[in-house]
Amino acid sequence: MNLESKIPEGPLAEKWARHKFGLKLVNPANKRKYEVIVVGTGLAGASAAASLAELGYTVKAFCFQDSPRRAHSIAAQGGINAAKNYQNDGDSVFRLFYDTIKGGDYRAREGNVYRLAEVSVNIIDQCVAQGVPFAREYGGLLANRSFGGAQVSRTFYARGQTGQQLLLGAYSALSRQIANGKVKMFPRTEMLDLVVEGGKARGIITRNLVTGKIESHSAHAVLLCTGGYGNVFYLSTNAMGSNVTAAWRAHKKGALMANPCFTQIHPTCIPVKGKYQSKLTLMSESLRNDGRVWAPKTKEDAEKIRKGELKPTDLKEEDRDYFLERRYPAFGNLVPRDVASRNAKYVCDEGRGVAATGLAVYLDFADAIKRDGRTTIEAKYGNLFEMYEKIVDDNPYETPMMIYPAVHYTMGGLWVDYNLMTTIPGLYALGEANFSDHGANRLGASALMQGLADGYFVVPYTLGDYLATIGHADKLPVEAPAFKAAEAEVKHMVDRLLSAKGERTPEEIHRELGHIMWDYCGMSRSAEGLKKAKGMIQDLKKEFWTNMRVVGDAEEMNQALEQAGRVADFIELGELMVDDALAREESCGGHFREEYQTEDGEALRDDANFAYVAAWEYKGDNQPEVLHKEELVFENVKLTQRSYK
């Protein structure tokens, strides 16, 4: 297979403009004759559906939640980056591009990333026009902050609820188009298969989650805006419903999955409490601006703390190990997410972790409170401290906060070209669902930017090119055999899930999968561990299909059935992630292979052999997937080793 990225020729800064000019346009009078399916209504999906409807296309949008407003983009806290340079501090489109490429450890495409930085400025304009209440200065101008260790202040924010406000902006635009009759919305509806015929995406098969009805929807193009697959780890900061099903079933129909092992693990989450735990809560990264990360110096002290015999505040200064400050004197507590996470893991692996589980380190504000006063700290982080106290029942002003890394974002996803089209013509992937812009590690406040860039400013241009090429007559009726066959396949899968009469619930199997993924394909990976994990996942897959039980019927609301279907896909994806991690014999960004590290334990990239996108092709049930490589070309940046010493 030839992976044609379709990056336009020409100088970096002109690529997108030239490309836009080269794209075919659809006659305005004909646009309504084209039907587009948008799956998922987060930032990418809602913005795409609204923008395409505004252009005149006939859109059908789908989400599994009860309302498009609830997609998990809503939970993003920190902010959204844009190269506005309103602060006159040296930011530019090129600098945002450069930071993103470097932050991604040189595993993303230059062309895509530059375009992302370029349209970032339009996103802010668009959102403000929609009424997104970004933070402002007293004079009325937009406020910015520096975020995630960036050296310029380019992050726009709306309190700690930026994702919510951006999503509500996109949702309002979508609502307007629903009212106009240009978008037909299908909430509580899950995509269960993609219909491909004649080499093109023709539509989708869905299940109405309320009635259980399996339905076919035909269209000229299908946009998957279905988010990431962090829930393969069971515990993550993702919403309970976030899943890979739509993307995975598209993968099984021929769309290549790129860099699936690239997972971002966020260092400042609230630690796991017990085995009943269903999800992890993220605490904003901004906490590391003032908090100091430490663990007890000795195992003995740590053990006493775990048993509750010793309080952290009783531990003397010389008995504490401020390990980030010690190892990275230049960046200290502000090292990138992957580095901070990995170091917390090492400390806990050495037996120096705290909390009853031993899986936590401290984030201490005592010095900051001493220096700035409690009022200042409260003004900055009051809501976060409150949230922490609500969950942990511990006052972070008095005892140091406990944190531990958690899965947060997946950089990998469906392979797409510059037009955001997957390897199946007519099938697009937007936002976190694709792999394109963040390389091996995503910078803070860039996820929101990418989702909206794809939906508002990229796909409305690139989709027209495809549609104009195929013509509006090129659409398959839902009565066609391809739809009937896909429907039958989906019904068969549902029946199969319901017919198993074993002992275990889908939840239990999901949790077990999560443990395997976290232990062997999490913050650090080794060939030995990954091979072991592969066997364990294959066993778990057998267990799933033979010893699982789903109560209830297919023709009604059945949340266990929904979950079972999603877990089935997570198991298969998990195996592919392990394969991908095993094949990438280097360390980069969030992917850390223990065999490939520098003398002082830092990630060691291998640009000569691994500067490529790993795109995997599905070859059938229980068949090994085939790896295709898209070589990455760097013409505008020099590849350097990241160093935070």
């Binding site: 923008s51 505004e54 939640q65 009860d66 309302s67 498009p68 407003r69 609830r70 998990h72 809503i74 939970a75 506005k84 339009n122 304009d125 403000v128 026009a129 929609q130 009424g131 209440p133 970004f134 933070a135 402002r136 200065e137 009325g140 101008l141 937009l142 309190r159 609820q161 406000q165 509500l168 949702y171 309002s172 635009a173 609502s175 307007r176 009212a179 919305m185 909430p187 919403a239 309970m240 419903g241 409490k273 017990g274 009943y276 269903s278 999800k279 809560t281 609500k390 029942d393 508002y456 400013f457 002992e503 619930t505 939840e507 039980r549 109560v551 209830g552 009604e556 609301m557 266990a560």
Partner: protein, 250 residues
């Protein structure tokens, strides 16, 4: 801890429902309320019984999906929090907890504790937006919006659309929800061009959905997970009356 539950079970929208008793042992005070329900469902499934259906997603208090009426209060005894942010330590060992779905004509029950809140979406569709097509925006800093105004808009805009206001109101009124959206867009210059028509349409849709009228009991604001102020309801009243008296629509 030991917990006695009385949970509303209803097969579907057309079936009759009733409160069913369940007993749970070994509940940790650190569990969230929804995790306690996970434990219940796990036990039910192992017994071959149907688990309790309930809406939930982000489990961190922002998506607005969870919606339980717990011991006579929307989202339970805590204020300023959603059901997913409620922890079992808020209850005592041996407590009996009654869990019901939101009750309102505009929120019909789908199954067990799950209700249909699409009425809210239709209210937003009737006018809860600024009419601006993608690409037609001018530079974000061209319109000055003083910080106090931006903060006021944000106070209203942070509504999560969970419906606790409707559930808590003795009249099942949606005024706080509608007011939050109208107010958010009415205070911002971007929203002012359509402020009148928005207030008129959203109120008309709210009435058409079958919500009750506001009697200013204040229950909505107390039970709102985001503690949205009653000031916004006053603004909605003002916007609506002003619109009705001055708008061109006859």
């Amino acid at each position: 801890m030991k917990i006695n539950l009385k949970v509303w079970r209803q097969k579907n929208g057309n079936a009759a429902g009733k409160l069913v008793d369940y007993k749970l042992d070994n509940i940790s005070p650190d569990m969230s309320f929804l995790e306690m329900f996970d434990v219940l469902n796990d036990e039910l499934m192992h017994k071959g019984e149907e688990p309790v259906a309930f809406d939930h997603d982000c489990r961190e208090g922002i998506c607005g999906m969870c919606s339980m009426y717990i011991n006579g209060r929307a989202h339970g005894p805590q204020t300023g929090a959603t059901t997913c942010q409620l922890h079992m330590r808020s209850f005592a060992d041996g407590d009996t907890i009654i869990v019901e779905p939101w009750r309102a004509r505009a929120f019909p029950v789908i199954k067990d504790l799950m209700v249909d809140r699409s009425a809210f979406d239709r209210v937003v569709q009737s006018g809860g937006y600024v009419s601006v097509n993608t690409g037609s925006a001018r530079d974000a800093n061209e319109t000055l919006i003083p910080r106090t105004i931006a903060d006021e808009a944000m106070d209203a805009a942070q509504c999560i659309g969970c419906g606790a206001c409707v559930a808590a109101c003795k009249n099942a009124s949606a005024m706080l929800f509608v007011a939050a959206k109208v107010s958010h867009l009415a205070v911002l210059p971007q929203g002012q061009a359509e402020a009148s028509i928005r207030a008129e349409r959203m109120v008309a849709q709210m009435d058409a959905e079958g919500f009750g009228a506001c009697s200013f009991t204040g229950a909505c604001s107390v039970e709102c997970p985001k503690s949205i102020s009653l000031d916004h309801i006053a603004r909605l009243n003002r916007e609506y009356l002003g619109a009705k008296i001055t708008s061109e629509a006859v």
